[in-house]
């Protein structure tokens, strides 16, 4: 099938999942014990305040009606009203999300670059010490939860070796550049403050590493397996037999088929960074959506929670689609072969 059809199919599938997710959380939130209106108003609020709130937030209507209103709101860009911050959730998210996104993007870049390089090294030196070392790291990497890694990195490289800042996004005394996109890196570049840009980057390195190290090692292993497996394949041996220079064989003929199985996993891992960012941000006091998220979760701010979940879901879905497109582009067999599945 054509690439466009493929993308359309995937998009539809993903949207379907999102709907399911939103429905699930929506129902759960309303079904469970506890009176959300009461929780929102607070323990000491008089009954009429609670009533008013209940009406305002539409908690008194039947569930399907609530859902319907909510969906239409979302399409209008209104994600609801946050009880905690006392303003529209959309604004909250716009304020906090960009900072998280830049952290995630940097981590994704680290992850992909690291996986490719380490995987190639491990593949080239398979069964020798670089390979074994990477293998051990990958076992360890996947076993350490993101927040644990965050704490350990912070302890070693921030506290003990003082190489990186411990927390936050800007050193004390450095002012935040005027807000254009909400991303500290972009904003500082737009404002022409290169020094601020560097400062932000310096703060980003440890959290980004904590985010991606585990997945990076895992992906490196997959790439390595791909290379080792394909190294002895006939089409590589034939290229050798034709006298093609070794460099070209490695970087073109071996590389492309070897990374294809890895791309899917790398994409999924990159998307999963989203969730782990939540944890790592807490450790490093990064001004992203984690602080907001935790506050609303602990305070049962239902609207905010659902909106947050929805946004995370959408981002994840988009990332998945991008990965699917990439894989289809790299491996012609996937996009061109459509025989009775």
């Amino acid at each position: 099938m054509k690439l466009s059809t493929y993308i359309a199919k995937r998009t539809f599938y993903v949207i379907f999942s999102l709907i399911g997710l939103s429905l699930l959380v929506f129902i759960l939130a309303r079904v469970l014990p506890g009176d959300p209106a009461r929780m929102a108003a607070g323990e000491r609020a008089p009954e009429w305040v609670v009533e008013q709130l209940r009406e305002q937030l539409r908690f008194d209507k039947p569930m399907y009606e609530q859902y319907f209103y909510w969906v239409s709101d979302v399409f209008h860009g209104d994600l609801g009203y946050s009880i905690v911050t006392k303003r529209s959730v959309s604004i909250d998210i716009l304020e906090y999300l960009p900072a998280s996104m830049e952290l995630i993007i940097l981590a994704a870049i680290f992850q992909i670059a690291g996986a490719l390089i380490l995987g190639a090294i491990a593949g080239q030196f398979s069964f020798k010490w670089p390979d074994n070392l990477i293998r051990i790291f990958s076992y360890v990497g996947i076993s350490i939860p993101a927040f644990v890694l965050g704490i350990i990195l912070q302890l070693i490289f921030s506290w003990w070796f003082k190489l990186f800042p411990t927390q936050g996004v800007l050193s004390p005394g450095v002012t935040r550049p005027p807000i254009a996109t909400g991303m500290y890196t972009l904003d500082s570049l737009i404002a022409g403050r290169f020094d601020v840009f560097l400062n932000v980057l310096w703060h980003m390195i440890l959290p980004a590493l904590a985010l991606c190290l585990g997945s990076m090692m895992q992906d490196a292993r997959i790439i390595r397996s791909g290379m080792v497996e394909n190294k002895d394949k006939d089409y590589i041996l034939m290229a050798k037999a034709q006298g093609m220079p070794e460099r070209r064989i490695m970087f073109r003929y071996l590389f492309k088929p070897s990374i294809i199985p890895a791309v899917t996993v790398m994409g999924l891992d990159a998307a999963a960074l989203l969730a782990n960012a939540f944890l790592v941000e807490i450790v490093y006091y990064w001004p992203g959506f984690s602080k907001f998220g935790i506050t609303v979760m602990l305070n049962k701010d239902l609207n905010a929670i659902i909106a947050l979940v929805l946004v995370m879901g959408i981002i994840y879905a988009l990332a998945n689609i991008v990965v699917d497109i990439l894989v289809a582009y790299l491996d012609p067999r996937i996009r061109l072969v459509e025989r009775g599945e």
Binding site: Y13, V14, F16, S17, L18, G20, L21, L24, V25, L28, A29, L32, P33, G34, Y139, V140, I142, S143, I144, P145, A146, F147, V148, I151, I152, Q154, L155, W159, W160, A271, A272, L274, A275, N276, F278, L279, I282, V283, G293, I294, V296, M297, L298, K300, L302, I305, V309, M312, G313, Y316, A317, N320
Partner: protein, 295 residues
Amino acid sequence: MGIKLLGIRQISSRFDLKRKWYRFSRSPLSIVGLVIAVGSIILAVGAPYIAPYPKHAGLFTNLLEAFQPPSSKYSFGTDEMGRDVLSRTIFGFRYSLTMAVVVLGLVVAPGVITGLIAGYYRGSWIDTVIMRIADVFIAVPPLVLALSIAAVLIPSVFNAMMAVSLMWWPWYTRLTYNIASSLRNEYFVQASEVIGASTFHITFKEILPNCLGSILTKVTLDVGWVILLGSSLSFVGLGAQPPTPDLGTMVAEGSKHLPQYWWISIFPAVAISVIILGFNLLGDGIRDTFVEEAK
């Protein structure tokens, strides 16, 4: 047709245990995993007897001895309430493994059964319905899903377990479905159908045994995943609440006192990683032993 009780020797030969052990033991990493896993279970089960200061695992305060660094008296030091970190960590094993056992116990059977049903009736509406529902859960990254569900519940260990269970079963459905549906059209299944074996028989006696290897592998690896998720939830504050000595909660509490009193956070943090590492290695070893190499 009753149930045959098998003796140890019969079980050993039926499942070819001796050869599988030989194969398993060839990989040193798998043995390491096994040792860690068994060690964790022992610690978890015997926590009240193994921990030097079992009372410290609950409500206990001894502010005179708070913030002590690791010493001969308190091997892992004490925390901000004067409690022995080592004892609490040992009890932490108990909470983590209990969670894993509960969640997996709840989730594996329904997941596998739905997967078998969907796989057997592949192509029909039963298949579509079951798998679409499962897909919804699978499409979302585990942590996001866990957070979403736990977020709307009152934070507690129990609720955390429920949240994780609710979102976990579809993975077993998907796993079993994949194997079952690929076996569906194998000759041995069709042969059984031809001689009139009942659906029940085919599903449980023919298809299921072929899935066991993969299921066992996944269960082992999942112990690690569940503990990872559970401790993440606790860290965020949505799981076990203080003073419960859940490892994640301990890390969160201890993180306030970094870096001077690093031991309060680090030991539980390392403990989490070690448990997960152990079960990951063990799971890999099981996969290499039990799952047929399709080379």
